[in-house]
Structures are given as structure tokens and as C-alpha cells.
């Protein structure tokens, strides 16, 4: 440890913090102009929707739109803070942004994800958003995950992870129950982030083991640009048993949109698609991964 020198007084010429003069004790909303009057009352907070329902399926989108609007005459920076009753987890605990003073008023919105951890008891939990003196409480009703009916896609809404995900896509898009190519651009599929770099992988994981006998992989293709031009080309379908990955389907030079792999029943807590090449040589594109119990 270095000797700590007493640093009490400015020696010689004064040095000033460049931020001096700003209202540094104002914690919640600060003007962008030094010396301006506190604009606290001019920021309006709104949160939508007013209530939410969710289950612990990790990939089902449950989101809040938090908006702040400056209704005053001076632009401001403002913070909203977010909190949730345990054990609910929010993707963001803070939303800080510039709020211009425009006419008409210009709301600035942040979409915040709500995650219900495995084991959360059904019931109502409060999500609280605060900005300045304003406070909005959104009740979240957590419902139990229903027992899957026979023939149900067991991957729906489950935890999806990937080697990487392109910023315009969502990993969860691969388990959102939507395998329609027309919705690709809305984030209903997974597209990796590393152009031209392989292998890529996309995995689905369950909190408790499930028994599976069939996995269907839907890659991206349209009538004008089918999977033969932009879908996954060389890939393996694997299930995890006893900590090891077992390959249950291996495909080379694939040109089909939907590839069905059936196998002897296996108890597993995770499945994955490992992509070695795509027909466009750039990205791995998977619209949906579905998993089913043995017939």
C-alpha cells in the first residue's frame, strides 16, 4: 500500500472540475445546461402495459415499455430505476436517456424484459418503475407452466442460448413457436453474429430432464430464396445425456427448410444444433427448433 498523502487543500493555482456549477446533488434528472432550474416536474413517466401475465418459460417474451417524456422547455437527462419483487428479474434496473424539449412532446422508450426464474411460485409480483417522484407499479401475475399435452412442442418458450446472436435477431426467436419465414425479419428466428465463422450452435435447455424422440429444425428459406441458397447446409443435431453430447442427426449439403430427426427415446436436459456451414457461407439462420416426446 502506498503512503496516503493528506490531500486537503488546492496547492498553487486552482484546478476546477469542468462539471463545477452543475446541480450535482440532483440525482434523478439533471439539465444539460449549467445553472438551469431543476426540471424534475417536467418529466412524465409511463409504463405499458398496466399489468402482465407470465410463466417461468424463459423464452416467452414478457416485456415492459418504459417511457419518459419531457413536457418542459429545457432538454434534460433523466433516469428511471426499475425494481421487481424477488425472485423476478428485469433485464434493466436503470434507464437513462436524453429527453429533448420538443413540440409536440417526444417520448423516449426502453423495452425491458421480465424474467421469471425456475421455481417461482405462482402469484402476483410487483414491478416498480420510479423516475423522480413518480412511481408506477405494474402487477405481474405468474402462472404455473401447464403440463404439456401429448404432441406438444416441448422446446416452446424454453431457455435458448447460442454461440452468438446478431443484433437484429433474438436467440429466443428459435423457440417462439413461430416457424413462418414471413416473420423472419421481425426477430422470430436466430441468426448468428459472426459472419463467415463456423461452427455456430444454438441450444435449448430444460430445468428438469425431458424424454424426447424427435427434433425438428426449421432453417430460413423463402419461395424466391429457398433454404438451398441461405439455409443451414452442414449441421448436427445433438442431445445431452450424462453430460455428453450425443449426435442423433447429421446432415450435409442440406437444402430443405424443415429437417426432421427421429431417434430412440432419450432423457435429456439440453439439445443443440451445431452448424458447420450455411448455403450462403455467411450466417447460420434457424427459424425454429422443435422437440417432441416419443410417440
Amino acid at each position: 500500500m502506498k503512503k496516503i498523502l493528506p490531500l486537503t487543500a488546492v496547492v498553487g493555482m486552482a484546478a476546477a472540475a469542468v462539471a463545477a456549477g452543475l446541480p450535482s446533488d440532483e440525482a434523478r434528472a439533471v439539465t444539460s445546461r449549467p445553472g438551469a432550474k431543476s426540471p424534475r416536474s417536467t418529466v412524465t413517466l409511463s409504463v405499458a402495459p398496466g399489468s402482465l401475465t407470465a410463466s417461468e418459460l424463459p423464452c416467452l417474451p414478457t416485456r415492459l415499455a418504459v417511457s419518459m417524456t419531457n413536457t418542459g422547455n429545457e432538454p434534460v437527462f433523466a433516469d428511471a430505476t426499475l425494481a421487481a419483487d424477488a425472485p423476478i428479474v428485469l433485464t434493466d434496473e436503470v434507464f437513462s436517456t436524453y429527453l429533448p424539449a420538443t413540440d409536440p412532446d417526444q417520448p423516449v422508450t426502453r423495452s425491458v424484459g421480465v424474467r421469471v426464474p425456475h421455481g417461482t411460485a405462482p402469484g402476483t409480483y410487483d414491478l416498480t418503475v420510479t423516475a423522480g417522484k413518480q412511481r408506477v407499479v405494474v402487477p405481474l401475475t405468474v402462472e404455473a407452466v401447464p403440463e404439456p399435452a401429448p404432441g406438444t412442442n416441448l422446446a416452446f418458450g424454453r431457455l435458448a442460448t447460442a454461440s452468438s446472436t446478431h443484433g437484429n435477431f433474438r436467440t429466443c426467436g428459435a423457440v417462439d413457436g413461430d416457424s413462418d419465414y414471413r416473420n423472419w425479419s421481425t426477430g422470430s428466428g436466430w441468426n448468428d453474429a459472426d459472419k463467415g465463422v463456423f461452427p455456430d450452435w444454438l441450444a435449448v435447455t430444460w430445468p428438469e430432464p425431458v424424454q424426447l424422440g424427435r427434433i425438428e429444425v426449421v432453417t430460413y428459406g423463402t419461395p424466391s430464396r429457398p433454404a438451398a441458397l441461405q439455409g443451414v447446409k452442414d449441421f448436427d443435431v445433438q442431445v445431452r445425456t450424462g453430460g455428453d453430447w450425443l449426435t442423433v442427426g447429421s446432415y450435409r449439403a442440406n437444402t430443405r427448410e424443415r429437417v426432421v430427426t427421429t431417434f430412440d427415446p432419450v432423457t435429456t436436459d439440453s439439445i443443440r444444433v451445431v452448424v458447420h456451414a450455411s448455403n450462403s457461407s455467411d450466417y447460420s439462420r434457424i427459424l425454429e427448433v422443435e422437440a417432441f416426446a416419443p410417440r
Binding site: 484546478a15 472540475a17 444539460s32 434507464f95 429533448p100 417526444q106 442460448t161 453474429a193
Partner: protein, 482 residues
């Protein structure tokens, strides 16, 4: 409170009598508020002439608060010109790492020699900051960082990915997003060492905000919506860089172009080629030169900054007139054969702006203009001539474009695209596609640029070596290989 100095220290914008000292209190740096509560804290600072702080020459206390993410920007004055100093901060019983800095020479001084490094483009997921480690070890007199300090893209991928948490996968848009992105980058020990080794003079490029933004335009985003993002991005940039109060953004606007004098040896005109430019011509990308790129009504710098630049160069008493900016001035024909295709995002996309600059340099008899830029992720050395298509055209300035620190991963000595550039652009003297930076030695009679390249950035223990050295003699703009 845990150790708040997790993001290191920095200094910047040297003057003959002062320098800006920077740090941030962030005991939990990836927390949106850095692990700080919303109170304001006193931070003590001190400047000494020795590394052990036996001879402290200035000290004081600054107050840091939540409105600027608990960052400190201390504008220390009263120092002596062209002196090496050491600085550190103290808060809550913790002492920061020690930074080394150096003031500029006095206005009348012609120092016999100075060292300078310039660098750009450090996508963190693309590799290790080996180049910064090398840069730090050389203890330059000053470092120019020419943009793409962060990337707005998610960083949950690549060679050293962050986790898959949503803030790592999404693009930065809000102030808390950008603050967290700076914290992610600034946690790197090699980057911290590079900041601690020398004062930095910084300008930004596109990715500190969003890919290829131009004035109020960014892709298809409505300008009113983009300007909110731009305000958030510029605020976080100012907070995390060693910049003075005049550079503090007012909403979406920031005065970043500025001049820094190193006595009579060098003057740095730091340019902003993003805020005032016209939108990229013909939908951006790489296109043939066309009516829009040659339109004299369009500008890369904006007309006020163009005038400010030429007037400043004209008045400069310095031997070397350095432009520190983002992207290449030189013509970059990217296709083989008689066809010409040039980037719409570089000065090629604003050739009337380029003609006004190079023509103005020639008409006003401005000597020893050296353009330093980045953006291309490749090293490029060029003679800047009045007419790039005429091999006999007069060379009026010299350009060194530095490669990226990491962006583009390892690269190679000369890729196919680089060979085409060399073949198609006879004014181009050198091209290299490895990662690294440029280390320069400047004397009144000679400018030397040493292209330091990494064998690999995709492994943590890459090595750095000198790939080529280029020289510019006083009064001779045409570059020579040393």
C-alpha cells in the same frame, strides 16, 4: 465501498501549462451506475514530477456526481511546458493506478524531437489489445485516438465474448447502454495501460454512436429519434474521455474539432467528420464517383469547419501541420481495371470537400501537412496530390492511415483487396492488412512513421513488430520508405 478505480486513469488534451486528468468511480463497473449510489463524492488528485510522488506540484479535490456517471475531469493548470508528470486519484481510502502524462511545449518552443502514436478501431470481441500493450511500453509524448473506441453492436460473440445478457446482445441506444459499453471496454488492462502511458487526444468516428451516421441521419431512423440516441452516445463519450468543458455536449451537439499546439514543432487539427457531414451519397456503400460525390454543395466537414481548418492551417507557425481525423483523404479505387469504385463514407464520397482542402493547402502555400486517420482497418500510406488521376500532379500533403487495434481480427500482410488498392492507386505507397498502430518520431527536419503490427490478436499473447517505416522530409510532401 470497494475499490472504485476499476476503469483506470487517463489524461488528455495537453496544453503548455496543463492537462485534463480523468477517472471514474466504478466499484461495480458493469452496474448501470458503476456500483455507485446517487450521491456526490470528493475525489482527491495530485500531480508530481516523479513516479513515487515525492515532489507533488499540484493537488486538489474535485467532486464527482451521478449526472456524469461519477467521472472526474480535472483541468489541471499551472504546470510547466514540455514536462513529464505523474498523477493519481484518491477516494474512500483507495488510491488509483498512477498515470504518466506530458504537457505540450510552450508556444515559442521548437523542441528537437517528439514521439506520437495514433490508433483506432478496437472492437473488443475481435481480439486482444496487444497493440495497446506495445503502445503503452513506448511511453509516447502523446497518443491520438481517431475513433471507434467502442462499438454500438452487441459484444456477446467473437474471440472474447461478453455473456448473453440482454445488454450485451443489443445495440447501445440509451445512456445507460453506452455507459456500460465504455465500462466493458475500459476494463481491459492493456487499454488502461495505454491511457496511463501518455496523454491522449481523441476524436470519435461512427461506432461511438451508430454505424455510418451522418449528421442527423442514421439508416432509416427518423432524425428526431436518432438525435436522442446521438445525445446519449455523445454524453457517454465525453464522460469517459479526458476532454475539457468546451467539449461537453449540449444535447446532441458536441464541439469536438479543436486545435492543439506543440510549440513550433507541430499543430494538431482534430477534425469531426461525422456531426456536420451531408448524408452519404447514393445510399452509401462503394460506388463509382458520381455527380453527388462531386457536388460542391456537399461537405464532409461542413463549411464552417472547412473554413476553420484552412484558416488554422494558414495561420499555423508550426513545422508540421497534422490532421487527426477518422477516414482516408486519399483516393481509394477498390476495383481492378478501368472502372472506378470508391467508398461513399470516406473523403472519396465528398470529393468536392477534398478538392477544397487539398486545393486550399496548395493555393495558400501551406507546408508539411500530414493527415493521420483510421477507419479502414488497414495501414495505408499515400501521397495526397491535387489530381489523383494525374501521376505528375503536385503532391501537397502526406497521409498515414493506421490499421485497427483489433477490428477485423488477425488479418494478413496483404489481402486481395489490399493488392487491388495498391495496383489501382499509384499514389498509394504502402498497404498492410494486419492489426496494430503507428508510432511516429517527429523532428524539425523529419517525420518517421513506424507501422507496428501484431502477428495475431486472436490470442492473448501475440507479438508486435515493426512492419515498415516511412519518412517525410521537411518541405517534401512525397513520402519515402525509410
Amino acid at each position: 465501498m470497494d475499490d472504485p478505480f476499476t476503469l483506470g486513469v487517463a489524461s488528455g488534451d495537453p496544453l503548455p501549462d496543463g492537462v485534463v486528468l480523468w477517472t471514474r468511480l466504478a466499484p461495480d463497473p458493469l452496474d448501470p451506475f458503476g456500483g455507485m449510489d446517487r450521491r456526490t463524492y470528493p475525489v482527491q488528485w495530485e500531480v508530481a514530477t516523479d513516479e513515487r510522488f515525492g515532489r507533488v506540484v499540484r493537488r486538489g479535490t474535485t467532486r464527482v456526481g451521478p449526472e456524469f456517471g461519477h467521472t472526474a475531469h480535472v483541468d489541471v493548470r499551472g504546470l510547466k511546458p514540455w514536462r513529464e508528470y505523474f498523477y493519481r486519484f484518491r477516494c474512500g481510502g483507495f488510491i488509483s493506478p498512477v498515470g504518466r502524462t506530458r504537457t505540450a511545449p510552450s508556444p515559442e518552443q521548437l523542441v528537437p524531437r517528439m514521439s506520437l502514436a495514433f490508433a483506432s478501431c478496437q472492437a473488443i470481441w475481435e481480439g486482444w489489445y496487444t497493440a495497446h500493450r506495445d503502445l503503452a511500453s513506448r511511453r509516447h509524448d502523446v497518443v491520438l485516438f481517431l475513433g471507434d473506441y467502442i462499438y454500438e453492436f452487441g459484444n456477446d460473440r467473437g474471440i472474447r465474448p461478453g455473456d448473453g445478457e440482454e445488454h450485451n446482445t443489443r445495440q447501445a441506444v440509451t445512456l445507460d447502454d453506452y455507459r456500460r459499453r465504455y465500462a466493458t471496454y475500459k476494463l481491459d488492462p492493456d487499454l488502461q495501460a495505454a491511457h496511463a502511458s501518455a496523454p491522449w487526444i481523441v476524436v470519435l468516428d461512427d461506432h461511438e454512436v451508430v454505424d455510418n451516421w451522418a449528421g442527423p441521419h442514421a439508416g432509416s431512423t427518423p432524425p428526431a429519434e436518432f438525435l436522442v440516441r446521438r445525445a446519449n452516445a455523445l454524453r457517454a463519450y465525453w464522460e469517459h474521455m479526458p476532454l475539457r468543458a468546451p467539449q461537453l455536449p449540449q444535447g446532441p451537439d458536441m464541439r469536438l474539432h479543436r486545435r492543439l499546439r506543440y510549440g513550433r514543432l507541430a499543430e494538431f487539427s482534430m477534425l469531426d467528420t461525422r456531426q456536420y457531414r451531408d448524408d452519404q451519397a447514393n445510399g452509401d456503400g462503394t460506388k463509382a464517383p458520381n455527380a453527388a460525390t462531386a457536388d460542391p454543395a456537399r461537405s464532409l466537414l461542413g463549411f464552417p469547419q472547412e473554413r476553420w481548418l484552412l484558416d488554422g492551417l494558414t495561420a499555423s507557425p508550426a513545422r508540421w501541420n497534422v490532421l487527426g481525423h477518422q477516414t482516408a483523404i486519399t483516393l481509394l479505387d477498390t476495383v481492378s481495371g478501368p472502372d472506378v469504385a470508391v467508398p461513399m463514407d470516406t473523403w472519396d464520397g465528398y470529393s468536392a470537400s477534398r478538392d477544397r482542402l487539398l486545393g486550399g493547402i496548395a493555393a495558400r502555400g501551406i507546408r508539411n501537412v500530414v493527415s493521420l486517420a483510421g477507419d479502414l482497418h488497414r495501414s495505408v500510406v499515400s501521397d495526397l496530390a491535387l489530381d489523383f488521376h494525374d501521376p505528375d500532379s503536385r503532391v501537397v500533403a502526406t497521409e498515414f492511415v493506421g490499421t485497427s487495434i483489433t477490428s477485423g481480427r488477425d488479418g494478413q500482410d496483404l489481402d486481395a483487396g489490399g493488392q487491388v488498392l495498391l495496383d489501382e492507386n499509384p499514389h498509394m505507397r504502402f498497404g498492410n492488412f494486419k492489426r496494430g498502430y503507428v508510432s511516429c518520431e517527429i523532428t524539425p527536419e523529419l517525420w518517421l512513421s513506424d507501422f507496428r503490427v501484431c502477428d495475431k490478436v486472436t490470442v492473448p499473447d501475440g507479438t508486435v513488430s515493426s512492419r515498415a517505416v516511412f519518412a517525410v522530409e521537411n518541405g517534401v510532401a512525397a513520402v519515402q520508405q525509410a
